[in-house]
Amino acid sequence: MAAPRPGEPAQVELTHIELREVSKRFGSTQAVDCVDIVIRRGCIHALVGENGAGKSTVGKIIAGVHTADSGAVIVNGRPCRFRSPRQAFAAGITIITQELALVPDRTVADNVFLGVESTRWGFVARRDTRRRFEALVEHTGIPIDPDASVGSLGVAEQQRVEILRAAARRSEFVIMDEPTARLSAQERDQLHLLVRSLRDHQITVLFISHFLDEVLDLADDITVMRDGRVVRNTRPSSETTGSLVEAMIGRQLQGSFPSRPPRPDQSQDPVLSVRGLVTACSGGLTPTGLAGESASAETPLVAGLDLDVFPGEIVGIAGLVGSGRTEFVRCVYGADRPVAGDVQVAGGGASRLQPHGSIGAGVGLIPESRKEQGLLMERSLRENIALPHLRQITRAGLVARRSENDLVSASAAGAGVRGGGLETPVRLLSGGNQQKALFARWLTPGLRVLIADEPTRGVDVGSKRSIYDLIAAAAGGGLAVLLVSSELEELVGLCHRVLVMREGRFVAEFAHPDLDETQILRHSFGEEATAGRSS
């Protein structure tokens, strides 16, 4: 990247932030290796790469969360070395990470002006705050109730609060780290509009994302990273999803999906049958209110659903976030108590209202959020995998370590968990390996039904394929799989049958080979919404 030479003054004005030979090492891992990136002012600059490619680290170096070991960060033509987010902030740089940094018990306006309150004699000046807030809403075009408590808002709205907060501080440079990972399709579209309007206001956006379609659609410039290095600086016009994936993983993907195991014979008895399942309004039942989206107030009742799943069958459940997908499978598993209805696992007659009962009957759940509902992050891989199976390996009251090691190492190898030994705490594993650890937990001989809720969320491309392979192989071996996913591609590529949920009901059912993304999407939104969208 050429340094600005005399006679090229335009270059300086166009470039907002430039990274020159920036490197950062964590322990023995070279997270960022001699990276050069030029980010033009007033552009949307996308940063893509697999998990662990170093893109988040680059964002955090610019935002002052991390300090580079070597190299220079040049902001507005001046080399800067931020030692804290506060210093970056002062230079007009804001980062919005996946873990939103808001105070849930305070109002929207309090959060937006946190640290830059209007005060008079040390007291917060309410009228002035209100006036500033209205000006801000008008300027950014983000309508939001200033008095709502932030904790009561959905993820998408909380993100808007963060964006308003950046605007309130007159940030010129906003870094968004995976902003759409937890949003529904609609919310995603709204965020895209917002990002474009930031650009219209001459605010530079560094957009870190997994979703290549949105990157191609949104970005002005794209930087592809792999193993801590920049492998390509490019423009969307000269790329396709395929070419970006190739650049990200350094090879061509041979088909994204494994071959489907043969569709099981439906004349035999189903291994899982659900009859007339009714769930209560969610939120009240999710014991810790962990799943932010599913706890939103407008989540409908899941009303009287029937479902049969046969051994060896992969059944997908599609639907928007909030359609009742997660509530349905949680009730099937016994994580939440249904209001009415019956869940039978072949052979098992006993009523199962609790997860431990389901596990006894051969049902396993990979929950929506691996960090909050799936894994014990501080505990070892061994303990995490063995947790539901301890009864089998307890001898004379004590957990038999040899049986445990046999069970766990076979399971971990089967699921292809890498990146550490069995004693490694799972928090040190990458997202993909953490997800595989959950597969290793359940893919043991006794399992007959596996329920997987968004099993590939936040997982890199390579691990995704391994997870698909695991699901296909397990189904080939006779396991019944119930797969909830927001990624239609995955449902279409993997399932024998896909049920579409909308407002707590199954509104459509498609079977392979008639699976079609557009059809599924149409039914997810309902006809009316689609008419407007597709025009």
Binding site: F26, G27, S28, T29, Q30, A31, E50, N51, G52, A53, R226, D227, G228, I249, P287, T288, L290, Y333, A335, Q354, P355, H356, S358, I359, G360, L365, P367, E372, Q373, G374, L375, L376, M377, E378, R379, E383, A386, L387, P388, L390, R391, T394, G397, L398, V399, R418, G419, G420, R427, L428, L429, S430, G431, G432, N433, R441, D460, G462, S463
Partner: protein, 324 residues
């Protein structure tokens, strides 16, 4: 491999630092032991060490079991109240029946009942465990006054003192009981399915539940066990002094929590070990013993103890922050 690259493995030096930090309480306790052995004449003698063991017995009984409660994510401050009231219940029974065995059982049963009640409130009414046990503490202190008629109680027969003060192989029975409790708590936590479920419940209750752990049962059980141990500790203490006095004294639980935390068990739950509590208790005991041998003013002892506890908690918070 990108998977491997995503792992931030500590480098050689970092790994040694990690081991150093993880077993910090071991090195520090050993160092203190050696220091005192070298700098004082009285420390490394049979009578002094036996005395330290005897004095730590009641604390170890309560703290080793309370470690399980803390790892499960609970915080039991009712240990003090139980340790005050249980011996009063036990002596009341002893005065009525004349049987030391029945008295011991009654004291333990009282502790178990209080603990189970605490656990049930925490697990089913979902009230914060600190607040729950603070509230029940006042009730139990009150029961102590009622049972004793507000006065000091003494056993009717001299054999009550045999519980703690019999000598077996040079050590008191108080010491033997405490070592037995430590051993049982250690094996239960480190080796059994129940122990794994305790870690899982404290580490992430929702994840544990979805993996088939009956987390409410675990919570009730750890509080019940903690109550039982506090009751036993109270009876052993009463046997050592051959009396029990009703009071509102909360100080016992502070010593218990200090031992657990200095050992390195996290107050956030999910990590820790009984052996850590054992070392934490002895570290503090050696420190106090050393102060006495060096004739340091007891006022300074308090201040230094406070600083040590702060340092332990700060080390825990620091290592936690470094991980995330």
């Amino acid at each position: 491999m990108t998977d491997a690259a995503a792992l931030s493995r500590p480098s050689g030096a970092g790994r040694y630092l990690g081991v150093l930090a993880r077993y910090g309480i071991v090195w520090i306790t050993v160092a203190l032991f050696v220091l005192l052995a070298v700098t004082t004449d009285g420390f490394l003698t049979g009578p002094n060490l036996r005395n330290v063991l005897d004095q730590q017995a009641t604390l170890l009984i309560a703290a080793s079991v309370a470690t399980l409660t803390m790892i499960a994510g609970g915080f039991d401050v009712s240990i003090s109240a139980v340790a005050v009231a249980a011996p009063l219940v036990a002596l009341r029974v002893e005065n009525a029946t004349g049987s030391v065995a029945v008295a011991l059982l009654a004291g333990c049963a009282f502790g178990l009942a209080v603990g189970a009640t605490n656990g049930a409130i925490v697990a089913f009414a979902r009230i914060n465990s600190f607040i729950t046990t603070l509230a029940t503490s006042f009730i139990v202190f009150g029961i102590g006054y009622v049972v004793s008629g507000r006065s000091i109680m003494r056993p009717s027969s001299d054999s009550f003192r045999a519980i703690a003060r019999t000598r077996v192989a040079e050590l008191t029975t108080a010491t033997w009981i405490s070592l037995a409790v430590v051993l049982v708590a250690w094996i239960t936590l480190a080796g059994t399915r129940f122990g794994r479920h305790v870690y899982a419940t404290g580490g992430n209750a929702e994840a544990a539940r979805l993996a088939g752990v009956r987390t409410r049962q675990i919570v009730v059980a750890v509080f019940a066990l903690s109550g039982l141990a506090a009751g036993l500790a109270g009876v052993v203490a009463a046997s050592r002094t051959i009396s029990a006095t009703p009071s509102d004294d909360f100080s016992f639980v502070f010593g218990v929590i200090a031992a657990i935390v200095v050992g390195g068990t996290s107050i956030a739950g999910g990590t820790g070990a009984v052996w850590r509590t054992l070392l934490g208790a002895f570290f503090i005991a050696f420190m106090v013993n050393g102060f006495n041998l060096h004739q340091i003013d007891p006022i300074w002892q308090r201040i230094i103890q406070g600083l040590v506890i702060l340092a332990a908690v700060a080390a825990d918070a620091w290592s936690r922050a470094r991980r995330s």
